[in-house]
Symmetry: C2
Subunit: 654 residues, 2 copies
């Protein structure tokens, strides 16, 4: 499977002239098994679905849009570790229209459990999920859940529809080769099946007729036996007629009522697509090796879902978001912007003395958590008292090593830096081992630390020490000069617990890795490859739900003015796309997850062969050489994963 230009299935006939006219007629002529079946009204029950739709597979790094053209259908073969999610896409495009009502037609998409030869299973609906890829501002991005194991999809003329198939391999899944099928069947259209439904007027008529049967015989008690017999005969005759009438005609057969099981969706006209998954013995660590802390705007939640800050609905809404996000191996923090880019950040909305606090912070899937500097919900105590109490409780806990304070978003001048110092001093007074994280991309503008911007930027650790432990810098500063990462690292004192983290936001822009809408799939995934190569030990992203203000859960999603499309938005409210309240992930969030999983592969490889060899692997597969040189194709990713699998699986250890 390649993520490049389409190849043609047929040979291109010679062009017959230079302009206009009969030029190039017939070049895309495709073999139709029996053209007569496609004349006039097409009955999908009588034609193999492959005559009606193109079906093909695409890798998870492909952006499959409505204009994508068909490719050869090849079986799917995937590799996954345990505790890993691996995804693939199925694209479907109608060859003809058979529905006759604004859509080209409807297909049923079904998937089976994946089974190993030893009888183990990956179960549909638990491990296997399907989501429809929905464009956002014209770019494939939202992944809207589909019903399982069987779903119906409307196809539109001249449009490709993509389905995102994910397999989550449980921690304890026995390694082995698993096989299952995806089955795609063209069906009668919705309108047609609606015709088999009983509409209001038909129900109305039926109701009247049945009511009439009743009125004919009732009241029973006052009637003579003869009259009753006559009336019952009349009523039963009506009832018999009703049962033979059109609303029930398809249910009545010579053998009586038709067996409902005849409706089985799978027919010998279905397109069957084999899906093979190799599960290997590597288990991705439950706690991600690289903390990826991702901001969630509580303000956006409050506005859109209409929950009042501090109300029980508010806690519930935040809790729902938090739990949903954990599946992406990220460490969420809630965030509220204050004056001058001061931020109030907190991973748990409940105070440290609340049982929820331990539940949140002890979760092994959480790699890092933000402790609020001031009360998240006003409680009557002073801010200082609250801070002291929080810190004194938390620092006694085992999970305290995951704690950090994030106080200010990108300080720009001395006053900002001074603000950070003051808050950090307060925190360190209660807990000298507390970690303060500061994001920045420049030194104070009103007091240059060096003669040029990059030198000034390099001096921030020295300038902020000891008031910051996690120096979190914008990838935008590095640009395409990867070697600058070494200069940054040289300023960090890991021996004193200092770390270097990075972040992306508005910048860097194309062609550098980032999560903007419209970037390539490998460009999204490469954000984490870059982190691995540069050697940062954590990552921050400012916002996953920072779309424009709206006052209804299902309000249209608009990106914020002035930001690149998709910046600050990694998932959507479910209500926009369906009646479900479950958030809807973006392709980009899935690729963030894939990138984090790639890091576990690199880390495993490095643990065997050293970090340099892991960088060599990145390079030699053509996967990632630098922020402007990374693969546009999916293949190198599979090659890298295959190489780690080949060299690190346990039967190699013997």
């Amino acid at each position: 499977m390649e993520n490049s230009e389409n190849h043609q299935e047929t040979i291109v006939p010679p062009v017959e002239g230079v302009a206009g006219g009969g030029t190039a007629y017939g070049w895309s002529e495709t073999l139709v098994r029996d053209p007569n079946l496609l004349k006039g009204a097409i009955d999908p029950a009588k034609v193999h679905s492959s005559e009606l739709v193109h079906v093909w597979c695409m890798p998870s790094t492909a952006n499959v849009g409505p204009q994508d053209m068909p490719r050869e259908l090849e079986p799917i073969s995937l590799l996954a570790a345990r505790n890993e999610r691996e995804s693939v896409q199925i694209a479907i495009r109608p060859k003809v229209s058979w529905a006759g009502s604004g859509i080209a037609g409807t297909v049923q998409v079904q998937c089976t459990d994946l089974r190993s030869t030893s009888g183990d299973r990956l179960v549909v609906g638990e491990s296997l999920r399907m989501r429809r890829v929905v464009p956002v501002i014209g770019v494939p991005d939202a992944l809207v859940p589909l019903e399982l194991p069987l779903t119906q999809l409307n196809l539109f003329p001249g449009e490709t529809t993509a389905i995102w198939v994910s397999i989550d391999v449980p921690n304890a899944q026995p390694p082995g080769q698993y096989e299952g099928e995806l089955i795609i069947t063209a069906t009668g259209d919705v309108t047609e099946s609606t015709a088999q439904f009983l509409g209001k007027s038909e129900r109305h008529q039926l109701y009247g007729e049945l009511k009439n049967c009743l009125d004919v015989v009732e009241p029973i008690d006052g009637k003579s036996p003869d009259e009753l017999v006559e009336r019952v005969k009349s009523a039963t005759s009506s009832l018999r007629r009703i049962l033979l009438s059109p609303p029930f005609s398809d249910l009545y057969s010579e053998n009586g009522v038709v067996d409902m099981m005849d409706e089985d969706a799978i027919t010998n006209h279905s397109i069957r697509l084999k899906l093979t998954l190799t599960v290997w013995d590597f288990v991705l660590p439950v706690t991600p090796s690289l903390p990826a802390v991702i901001g969630i705007s509580d303000t956006v939640i409050e506005d859109r879902f209409g929950v009042e800050h501090g109300s029980s609905e508010w806690y519930e809404a935040l809790d729902q978001h938090y739990k949903w996000l954990l599946q992406y191996k990220i460490s969420p923090y809630f965030c509220r912007w204050r004056e001058n880019m001061r931020v109030l950040t907190y991973t748990c909305p409940w105070p440290a003395d609340h049982p929820k606090s331990d539940e949140y912070y002890s979760d092994p899937r959480l790699a890092a958590y933000a402790v609020p500097y001031s009360p998240v919900v006003s409680c009557g105590d002073t801010a200082k008292d609250t801070l002291q109490r929080e810190v004194e409780i938390l620092r006694t806990k085992n999970h305290w090593r995951k704690a950090y304070f994030y106080l200010w978003d990108e300080p720009l001048n001395l006053e900002h830096y001074e603000g950070i110092r003051n808050m950090a001093s307060d925190i360190h007074a209660y807990a000298p081992d507390a970690r303060i994280m500061t994001t920045y991309y420049c030194g104070p503008s009103d007091s240059p630390l060096a003669s040029n911007n990059f030198e000034a930027f390099l001096k921030i650790p020295e300038f902020l020490r000891p008031h910051t432990q996690i120096y979190c810098t914008s990838e935008w500063v590095i640009g395409n000069r990867e070697e600058l990462a070494k200069d940054i690292i040289a300023e960090i004192q890991p021996e004193n617990g200092e770390e270097w983290w990075t972040y992306v936001c508005m910048g860097p822009s194309d062609p550098h890795p980032n999560w903007h809408l419209g970037m390539r799939g490998t460009q999204h995934r490469a954000v984490m490859w870059r982190v691995w190569k540069e050697g940062g030990t954590g990552f921050l992203y400012w916002g996953a739900n920072c779309y424009e203000k709206a006052m209804s859960p299902s309000a249209e999603i608009r990106f914020r003015r002035g930001l690149p499309p998709g910046d600050g938005v990694l998932y959507y409210p479910g209500q926009v796309f369906s009646s479900s309240q479950e958030p809807v992930a973006s392709l980009r969030l899935e690729r963030l997850l894939s990138g984090l999983q790639d890091i576990e592969y690199f880390k495993l490889y490095a643990s065997r062969f050293g970090r340099d060899e892991s960088l060599h692997l990145l390079e030699k597969t053509g996967m990632y050489q630098g922020p402007e040189r990374y693969t546009h194709e999916h293949m190198p990713i599979d090659v890298m994963r295959g190489e780690v699998f080949r060299t690190c699986r346990s039967d190699n250890n013997i």
Copy 2:
């Protein structure tokens, strides 16, 4: 109404920072009358539709795509002559999702008759039509008919849907001001109403229960009166229960059966959009002033619709296409490509001695017709005999002045030119007054007529005379050098019945006027403005149905390889978009019609004030100054039309 960038409805709040964070939150905040109605499940019956959808109007020259952003809703005010079609677009975009099933929601769109104060009407379904604008390869193009007077549309999250509203003013329509309304009402979604339908399993259950009622009392005759009473009581009790059961619950009320009339689509929650049309006394000529001859590939019809050349189904299919196309004020000819771009062209598939021949050629809407040089359907006679018979019959008819012969598409060398000469000689032997049309863009490559290409091109009339009467040249040759038109015209001898026509095909390309997909609406319409300005007396387009080969009527439309998108395709088979066999027009075909109608306005104006004044009108309104300088906005078109109306209406003549 402007065809330019969106204006914002609200003032943009200050951006709060330079990167990331809380920047620009709340800029698009819109006033919601009662936010509580938009929390949780939204009931469209309880909320004004303007809370749920944006509705706005766009001119017919706008390309309204899924990403188009809302504008202010303003009432529609149109001007039209009699025998004119005037169109406008209504755009709808959901503000929220209320359907909860993959779509944002469903709206009902309804339109009323337009009525004048004196009681005259333009009737919905006859004069007034609505079509949905459907993208083709991502560009709004196909106009798929909607049901009238009431239609339901599914809206998708974050997507704008456009409706094309056309008004055809009959010849005899009394002038005056007509008013009507478009009414848009958000409704429960299809899924919801499907829930009120009875599905198969519910019908199955109902069937079983009713069958059981019957079985309880039958057979009646063998039962004692007491037993019968008991059994009838049991059955009626069941029947009563059935009538109160969910399938009928919405039909049962305390007052008995609910009145079906409650379902009236228009509510006080509807968005009502006023449509005013001024019909003026000018009647566009039934026979278009400018013959626009447009090719229809018979081969494409044969392949796609599976009709065998010469069969009765074939004649029917061609007849259907011909009749449908006449509404666009064009003069269709069928076309079959032969070797070396030799073409067999014919407006009527029946021979001249068939009654259909007169029906076709006498139709006053037809401005010109192609006579086949050789038999369209083989009839046993020699080609020469057939030609002679055709010509001898046709030249006696009054419609013979509309006849032309189109023999070769763009001759390129001496052999091609010689071929034209030979055929023309044959024709002129039978009818010296026959008009031969030749399309060309260059002289013979193997025998240059002059030292440079344009000079050689200019010499073609001299070179081909007397074997061609209609010199039909590519606009591509002129490029942006309008003054060259004068040089071409100087070579034509109108006194000897010669004419200069033009054509567009692959070229000219953007920014020049043409009918390619993706060009601006005014660029499509300007093809005819250009003809008027340059002074050609006819126009040719090589193909209106020349999409790629397919063997099923509903097969996906693909454009031919090597041609710009949309080139040679001005309408689509209806079967691709619905079960209707009626062809589906493109936006571009509508704009071709509008351009031809504009020419009637120019001609009327020129008849009063002279041709130069008509060109001055084109210029001063900013509508068209040259092939690279024409309006991108719609406004100048309305200004031009208003000026012609103001200066040429009959009460000005007194």
